[in-house]
């Protein structure tokens, strides 16, 4: 079993963090294709209210185990050079990034397939909860569709 990777980030995932992550791969010259998914907090309108932020919480130990399983199973299924997953905890404002999935391989095709597979697995299998907070401080619990 490979080592657990740290997935959770307090608050939003910044564009600087994402660009640093890309820069770190410039030494890995067997890679010919990167593919990135970024989840952004959407200003959803629900009746006459709009989402200002999502506050994320998680069953952390189980979530880390789930991320690890997804990682291992994705590497078995797809021929990737590397894979990075980051998810926010705590408050992320509308327009900010809450999920960053980054896959790399020698050739492009597998990166498209693996990326979709990982994002769908995260939504389905990882015990994370998003509380959508409205401008009047009321809230509702996000539901994944």
């Amino acid at each position: 079993m490979s080592k657990r990777k740290n997935v959770f980030i307090d608050g939003p995932i910044t564009p600087e963090f994402i660009s640093d992550s890309i820069a770190k791969h410039q030494t890995k010259t067997s890679i010919g294709a990167h593919n990135i998914f970024l989840g952004q907090v959407r200003d959803d309108k629900i009746e006459d209210k709009s989402v200002q932020a999502i506050e994320y919480s998680a069953y952390k130990e189980m979530a880390e185990e789930s991320f690890h399983t997804i990682r291992e199973e994705t590497f078995t299924k797809y021929d990737l050079t590397c894979m990075h997953i980051y998810h926010s905890l705590g408050k992320v404002k509308k327009g900010e990034i809450c999920l960053f999935v980054f896959v790399s391989a020698p050739h492009r095709k597998v990166t498209f397939e693996a990326l979709e597979y990982i994002v769908e697995r995260i939504k389905k299998d990882v015990p994370i909860y998003g509380k959508e907070i409205f401008e009047d401080a009321s809230h509702q619990w996000k539901v994944n569709t």
Binding site: H87, V126, Y129
Partner: protein
């Protein structure tokens, strides 16, 4: 009948209904998840109306699973990560 203490965790909407994230419960050790949930839902009004999954020691299980070897039970509403 043997008793045990089990760490009980509540998440998302469930934590709002119970007004806590976790508690230690003293329970009969020879019961199933379903039986334990029945007694927990008697403490918290509205809990029985919600749909959620159960994890024993961080693994999702069915309701007929015995809690005998578990030290931790988590009540998990539908996930909404991403």
């Amino acid at each position: 009948m043997s008793k045990k203490r089990i760490k009980t965790l509540y998440f998302g909407r469930l934590a709002e209904i119970t007004n806590k994230n976790e508690e230690m419960l003293e329970v009969a050790s020879d019961q199933t998840v379903k039986e334990l949930l029945h007694s927990i839902s008697q403490n918290y009004k509205g809990l029985e109306k919600l749909s959620f999954k159960i994890a024993l020691n961080q693994k999702i299980v069915e309701q007929d699973e015995p809690i005998t070897n578990a030290t931790e039970i988590a009540l998990l509403p539908p996930f909404s990560g991403g």
